[in-house]
Chain length 348, copies 2
């Protein structure tokens, strides 16, 4: 990936040199950032708002495969995945920290690319990068991101707020990131068997982007505010629709009824899933990594959401005793079970 | 370390099962914690205080060696190291998040021990554990801790606030953690050569504890407040006194004069350093991991600090042009250079 002549050895810079180098171009834009990188801790001012904190760990060969994930995309995605958790509280993300552990065999240019992607994500989402840590790693590439945001007390949407009769809504479309991953995995296998064959991803941009360069749904949080909708409950779709709706139902002590025909699927997701012999609905239910927002709103908000292009009503909240139901296109009733991605699942 | 009969396989629990298991005993005690673990993000309320954030990445065989670091101590130290950054802002830590990546070859009991140590640190320091992430790691053990705290705007002590004439103060004593590490490394080598020889650490408890179970100096932040002292500048000693005083001087655009004879050394640190043929002063200057607080106060505070057992005045701040000087016991003047631990240093 990096020619020898382009390589700058990390050892030459040292830890402080590296931090200075990487952070010199960072510009702070958030009013709530009092002090960013350069002291023992960042200093933030959220005045009379609540502070929101979330953190994620991303490990090579567990969460990403450098054989098809470009480093810049990795940096971008690491930030998006974490911002998504703040939006999932119906809050606004304002700062992030990013820690990077990497083998000293990586050249400086590799860290720069990760940082470049991370900073682009920060810029696109109006977030300040205010801290982090860099270290050598004897293992693989390690990324840890913490995101910080804020919300008015009344605006915060917990998983536990869903009420019987609420409409279940989801933003965007589902399953694309998972189908994109299948495509990248297939091309990787072909490449490993014959390195002369170039990957054939033509016309598949959308689902490849869903996997490699997800966009957290800040716009939905803003849209809901502009529609004067306070979601009763909210979560982001990182492990698949099934796993997430169960989180909401269990935290809220309610049941749900989802309609398969309502689940939003992009045509490319649908077609490509079929090519792989996969059920597109299963990809949406169990695929994960879509980073859409799943939320419930009172029925009285139906008129506000029904004509929103980016929001689909896919079912409603029921009493707990009714269980967790998926009504198939043919009218059959299925129990919803979480089969999302499990970070401790044995490798087959 | 773990007999097979005592092992619980992480795969049996799955990620959510593991999180539930680990977090079930967590009690929240901080008024500022509105919502801890269990949603997309933690929710905190700092009312009209400033929010402080710091994060650290700890990687196996870079920051710790499991051949002599017990897992419970590792969890304890991971939290302390991070809390120290909040105290170094003259703030009070109130929450932490901890992310753990570990090979599925580790049994559940291993994660429990790390958590147990982390929770003990939280309990001892009045801090709530409010979030984190757990994941399998295909390589070694990975820990990432983020600490969150608060301070009144006027109380925050940046690195950049030192003024000419300020007294340079340090808490506790220095060099012990480094000398303790030498001792542990020596016993490891002996053990590797002959596993029948038990480690000989008798009478060395203090410096072993300095390395394995450091205590962040919350008490100093509280002491300074009770003495009505607002430090002009402050930093914690993680990379050695030399590196830290240079950080303060460069950020504040000032010089310094330190007196070797004033640098506080515990007698056991001194003796053991000598046994290893090391200069005890060099251990204090370049050793690191002491997690003491280094700070400057105006000369007018001299009467307040002079009789404090836990605070030593080791020099004063000069104009920038005077440089960074160490006056040796024999009266010679040396330039202070940072030779602290470098996370990107090549392994010898």
């Amino acid at each position: 990936m990096f020619e020898n002549s382009d390589r700058t050895n990390l050892n030459e810079l040292g830890e402080f040199g590296l931090i200075d180098h990487l952070t010199q171009s960072i510009q702070l834009t958030q009013k709530s950032t009092v002090k960013g990188i350069g002291d023992d801790a960042a200093v933030l001012d959220f005045a009379n708002k609540k502070t929101l904190i979330s953190t994620d760990l991303l490990l090579e060969n567990v969460h990403f495969d450098l054989r098809y994930v470009p480093l810049k995309h990795l940096g971008y995605k690491a930030i998006q995945v974490n911002l998504s958790d703040i939006y999932a509280m119906n809050g606004i993300a304002s700062q992030v920290t990013i820690s990077i552990g990497l083998s000293s065999k990586f050249p400086l240019e590799a860290v720069e690319e990760i940082y470049e992607g991370a900073l682009l994500a920060c810029q696109n989402y109006n977030v300040d990068l205010v801290g982090g840590d860099t270290s050598t790693s004897q293992q693989g590439l390690v990324l840890s991101v913490t995101s910080i945001g804020y919300a008015d007390t009344d605006a915060i949407a917990y998983r536990s707020g869903a009420q019987e009769g609420d409409l279940i809504c989801v933003s965007g479309d589902l399953g694309g990131a998972y189908v994109g991953l299948q495509l990248l995995e297939r091309e990787k296998q072909i490449f490993l068997e014959n390195p002369n064959i170039q990957p054939d991803l033509e016309g598949k941009d959308y689902i490849i982007e869903r996997q490699l360069k997800p966009e957290a749904r800040k716009d939905i949080v803003e849209l809901l505010a502009s529609l004067d909708i306070k979601p009763h409950a909210m979560i982001d779709v990182s492990d698949g629709l099934a796993s997430e709706i169960l989180h909401i139902c269990k935290a809220s002590n309610v049941g749900c009824k989802l309609y398969e025909e309502k689940i939003p699927l992009d045509p490319m997701t649908y077609e490509t899933a079929r090519e792989f012999g996969l059920d597109p609905t299963v990809c949406a239910l169990s695929g994960g990594e879509d980073y859409e927002l799943l939320f419930t709103v009172p029925q009285s908000d139906y008129d506000k959401v029904k004509n929103q292009m980016e929001i689909t009503v896919i079912g409603h909240i029921t009493e707990a005793a009714a269980g967790y139901q998926l009504i198939s296109k043919s009218g059959n009733v299925h129990d919803i079970k979480a089969q999302g991605w499990n970070a401790f699942k044995s490798e087959e």
